[in-house]
Amino acid sequence: MNIYFKLFILFLAMSLTSCEDVISVEVQTAPSRLVIEASLDWEKGTAGNNQTIKLSKSTPYFDTTTITSVTNASVRVVNDDDDTEFIFTHQGNGIYTTTAFIPIINQSYTLEVVHEGETYTANETLTPVVDIDNITQSIDGGFDDEELEVNIIFTDPEAEENYYLYKFKRQGDLLPALEDGDDEFVNGNEITWWFEKEEDDDTDEIEAFRAGDVVDISFFGISKAYSNYIGILIEQSEGAGLFSSTPVPLRGNCINTTTPDNYAFGYFRLTQVVKTSYTFQ
């Protein structure tokens, strides 16, 4: 529901604003923190044994040069019920992997990262996701009635609250697009989630979807706590306009048990995901 309000206000603001330009601004610089990108995503139809965790450090906002990989940490994940331990080993560039992970739906796991004498832990439960019923394309949906959009159609389970994360990336694009949603107003219904690219008329740098474009789609079932986290992250990465919420320091679930104030950025998430791609006709 939020999304409608945001989009409406965004449109309202856009229709009235006259000028946008990139300027140089001085910002504050906070001390660097550890960043834990522990996204254990179990792709439907696979065994889910291969998992990756990325560790890095945060940098000043406009910094483009610093190498941020964290290469000297020890990383493990434990199944909370049977204490099965999965050790992630460093592969270079701050990437830690395992080939032995055993994903279990609704099972809770604990992450432990030890870095420079400090221990970070996080706890999360693996959230399932329904199958995608159908993927279609259309032109008259979405905001722009002249541009193509892709539609993901699935049926929301009625029995519980569900939270979803969608990731769309056109092949050849630099950045993915993330969107989040829940079933608050649509519980138990067939849901159609559309995605289109807004053409940037000013710079011509971003193009709308064309026939032949291939878009990679990931459709995640996520926990409520992660939904809160990623929702704020997505909203804030869209930039703070006049009608957006005041940005807040975003805290994930990775806590520092040695020095609590020195918490880590990032999140330990456990999801089930449907991955597919769609070629525009």
Partner: protein, 788 residues
């Protein structure tokens, strides 16, 4: 309370037992019969005098004798009349416009705008509509709210945002009254235009502090806007044609000279252009003002007034929306005797919006309705003692939101948020007491009560904590629901009561200067929920109740006032300190839309503001205008309280988003000759506090910003210059049609003032960048105004 009133009456009855007589009456403008508010009436050679009220009524009581009565009202010829006070008498006066003045041009400030040294009233900004009309404006549309910002202590969150801020207060802390009806949204098109049509308005008064006891319900300010009564002498037309909108007002006598009427309408025509350009989008606004009055007899007069305004938007086939205010008011002026004036008002007002999402086939509606009855009395006991007293009751019916699918195939389930009903009452008494020739006191009390009414089920929470601090993750979360309590219709869920003392004093140092001091306490029971930088038309109001406490504010003010050069110049300096308890603040990531349990998203915080305001005016001559400067600070803090934890922003004080360290402006008008008048505004303001990133990290294949503490950065300073020129073509003195051209340039040196700065990762280059959004560059305009 009742006893107090009786006591005061008794006291004054004793005073008036001497041989005192009263002269009372109504003061009007001779040309159109419009009542004169703020005309000064006094007896020559004495200190005895009075100012006419909103309905033009005055009453003076003096010992038996012969006097010269003088009435002055700026822009009009003084009336001098010898009177013999040997009995109570009623005389009505009509003021002729000054013959030296050409037509309706007034290049001197109105008397009501000038410094009154004796009245304890302080922290008040008055603008006559004629002054407002002379100021340069964006797109040629006269705007009351923008004009107020040229006065000290009043700011706005930049262009393209609704509402205004007074002395570091929030938008919802302003009580905005149009002919006593509460206006919930003061702007059209997101703040580009105000809802007040200048052709229908008589005057504007903004109380920034020292709010008189007869007003209640908001803690920051009262903006009291009065509509014209309508010309009771001739049928006349006023109108204007601008680039964006046009307006027309008709006024004239009716009921065989026992009354008059005014109908004013205004509409934008952007839609015509959009349609012509084959654009699917639509945006526009219109409003309608109505007023009529009927004189039953010398002691009884009825007024009926109404306002209806609406904004409409449509974006392709995706969205349709409309929102607006409506209000209606029936008033009965009754004169019990020549010293006791009363007014009874029945007021209805409403704000609602409708957002239709065409793609997903549903409608979202929300509304506020309130029914208000007010009874105000003023007793002119003696020259030294005047008493205001009265009561009011407001019944609120809030509908925070309903989702209605518009078709069978809509994927959206219907939903209704709980309606919120409440009753607010007020009882007040206020005395204006001249202790000596030099010292005048104003002291009063308001008792306000509020009941949140039942007919609804309220959730209960474990440990009575709707919000809980999760100490492991260091975040605030919603509490654990443990069932709910159902309250019957008419049953009260929670009652509040507050005693609000209001007092001020004026001490005249000498003929030219005085000092004034004031203290006031006020309570506010309804709150606008908004966690965005600027309020939007879609924000909803909520009531105090089981979990939300009323806001309580204390304000102290001290001022120095001086006239120079025979009132040609005036100086006003005021300092203030204000604290507010129970200011709602929002937990990180709060979700306010479609939220039935608002209490799980907020914490109760506090706010404080202090500042120094300076206003220098030049009131007469070819060149008139003023310089205004405010140095101020506005902060807030929210501790964890019952939710535990350190609080929002770690429990530290942080800048409110309407904090402005410096706010400087110059406003001037220059009358070159009969044909040409020029106007100019210059504004400089410290940038708005905002939250910028203080770092970045890689997550999900993109750069994610981490942010610093709340509002610890600032936008670049805001400044701009506006100029205007008014041309009145040669016209014969007796010709009925009077036209004028107004040429204006807003933001003359094309400053790109940042409305916001947004930090994003460039989608093609992958680098982080800061994007400035500026709303208005240089905007020229031309308007033709007419009158006949």
């Amino acid at each position: 309370m009742k006893n107090l009133v009786l006591l005061c009456m008794l006291f004054t009855a004793v005073l008036s037992a001497q041989e005192n007589y009263t002269i009372s009456g109504i003061i009007k403008e001779a040309k159109n019969g419009e009542t004169a508010f703020g005309a000064s009436v006094f007896l020559k050679g004495t200190d005895i005098g009075s100012i006419s009220n909103e309905y033009g009524f005055f009453s003076i009581t003096a010992p038996k004798g012969t006097y010269t009565l003088i009435i002055s009202y700026m822009g009009f010829e003084n009336i001098k009349q010898d009177i013999t006070l040997d009995q109570n008498q009623k005389v009505n006066f009509e003021m002729e416009e000054e013959s030296t003045q050409l037509d309706e041009v007034v290049v001197v400030a109105e008397e009501t705008e000038r410094v009154s040294l004796k009245k304890p009233e302080m922290s008040v900004s008055k603008l006559n509509i004629r002054t407002v009309k002379q100021m340069p404006v964006v797109l040629g549309e006269v705007d009351v709210i923008k004009s107020l910002q040229m006065l000290p202590g009043v700011t706005k969150n930049g262009e393209g945002t609704g509402g205004f801020h007074v002395r570091g207060g929030a938008v919802d802390q302003n009580l905005v009254l149009l002919d006593e009806g509460i206006i919930y949204n003061t702007s059209h098109m997101l703040g580009f235009f105000s809802v007040f049509n200048a052709d229908a308005i008589k005057d504007i008064k903004l109380y920034k502090g020292g709010i008189p006891a007869r007003f209640g319900g908001r803690i920051s300010s009262v903006l009291d806007v009065r509509q014209k009564d309508g010309n009771s002498k001739n049928l006349s037309f006023t109108g204007g044609v601008g680039l964006i909108s046009s307006r027309l007002a008709v006024e004239g006598p009716m009921f065989k000279d026992k009354g008059s009427f005014l109908i004013a309408g205004r509409s934008s025509y952007v839609n015509l252009f959009l349609a012509a350009a084959n654009d699917e989008n639509r945006l526009g606004f219109y409003d309608l003002n109505l007023k009529t009055n009927y004189k039953l007899n010398d002691n009884n007069k009825l007024y009926l007034s109404g306002y209806f305004g609406r904004d409409t938007f449509k974006f392709g086939k995706s969205f349709k929306s409309s929102y607006g205010n409506a209000s209606g008011n029936l008033r009965w002026n009754h004169l019990f005797n020549d010293r006791l004036f009363s007014n009874l008002s029945f007021i209805y007002s409403k704000y609602d919006y409708d957002l239709e999402i065409t793609d997903d086939e549903f409608d979202w509606i929300s509304s506020i309705n309130n029914y208000n009855i007010k009874y105000d009395l003023k007793y002119y006991a003696s020259d030294a003692f005047k008493l205001d007293f009265g009561m009011s009751g407001i019944y609120y019916d809030f509908d925070p939101g309903q989702v209605r699918p518009t078709s069978e195939t809509s994927p959206i389930n219907p939903l209704s948020l709980d309606r919120k009903k409440a009753f607010e009452s007020g009882l007040y008494v206020n005395a204006e007491h001249k202790i000596t020739d030099k010292l005048t006191l104003q002291y009063g009390l308001r008792y306000s009560g509020f009941s949140r009414l039942g007919g609804v089920a309220m959730k209960n929470y474990a440990n009575n904590q709707p919000v809980v601090y999760n100490s492991t993750l260091g975040i605030y979360e919603r509490g654990t629901e443990i069932g709910e309590t159902t309250y019957k219709k008419g049953e009260s869920i929670k009652d509040f009561g507050n005693i609000e003392p209001r007092m001020s004093l004026a001490y005249q140092l000498n003929e030219f200067s005085s000092i004034k001091a004031g203290y006031s306490r006020s309570a506010q029971y309804i709150h606008l929920l908004s966690n965005t930088t600027s309020v939007t038309p879609l924000d909803v109001w909520t009531t105090s109740g089981k979990y939300i406490k009323p806001q309580l504010s204390d304000q102290y003010a001290l001022g120095y006032f001086r006239n120079f050069n025979n009132k040609k110049y005036s100086l006003e300096v005021e300092g203030y300190y204000k604290t507010t308890d129970n200011r709602i603040d929002y937990i990180d990531g709060s979700n306010l839309i479609g939220q039935n349990t608002i209490e799980t998203e907020i914490l109760n915080g506090e706010a404080r503001a202090y500042g120094l305001e300076l206003l220098v005016r030049k009131n007469e001559g070819m060149f008139t205008g003023w310089i205004s400067y405010t140095l101020s600070k506005a902060e807030q803090r929210t501790l964890g309280g019952t939710a535990g934890g350190p609080g929002i922003n770690n429990g530290n004080w942080y800048n409110s988003s309407f904090d402005r360290t410096h706010d400087f402006s110059v406003t001037g008008a220059y009358e070159l000759n009969d044909k040409w008048t020029f106007g100019g505004n210059l504004v400089f303001q410290t940038g708005r506090p905002v939250t910028y990133p203080n770092g970045q990290y890689q997550y999900e294949g993109q750069s994610v910003a981490s942010f610093s503490d709340r509002n610890s950065d600032r936008l670049p300073a805001y400044h701009r210059l506006d100029i205007s020129a008014t041309y009145k073509p040669n016209r014969k003195p007796n010709k009925r049609w009077k036209g004028e051209w107004v040429f204006g340039v807003y933001n003359a040196y094309n400053r790109k003032n940042a409305a916001s700065i947004s930090f994003t990762q460039n989608e093609t280059l992958g680098i982080n960048e800061a994007t400035r959004t500026a709303i208005f560059g240089i905007v020229p305009s031309v308007t033709y105004n007419f009158k006949f």
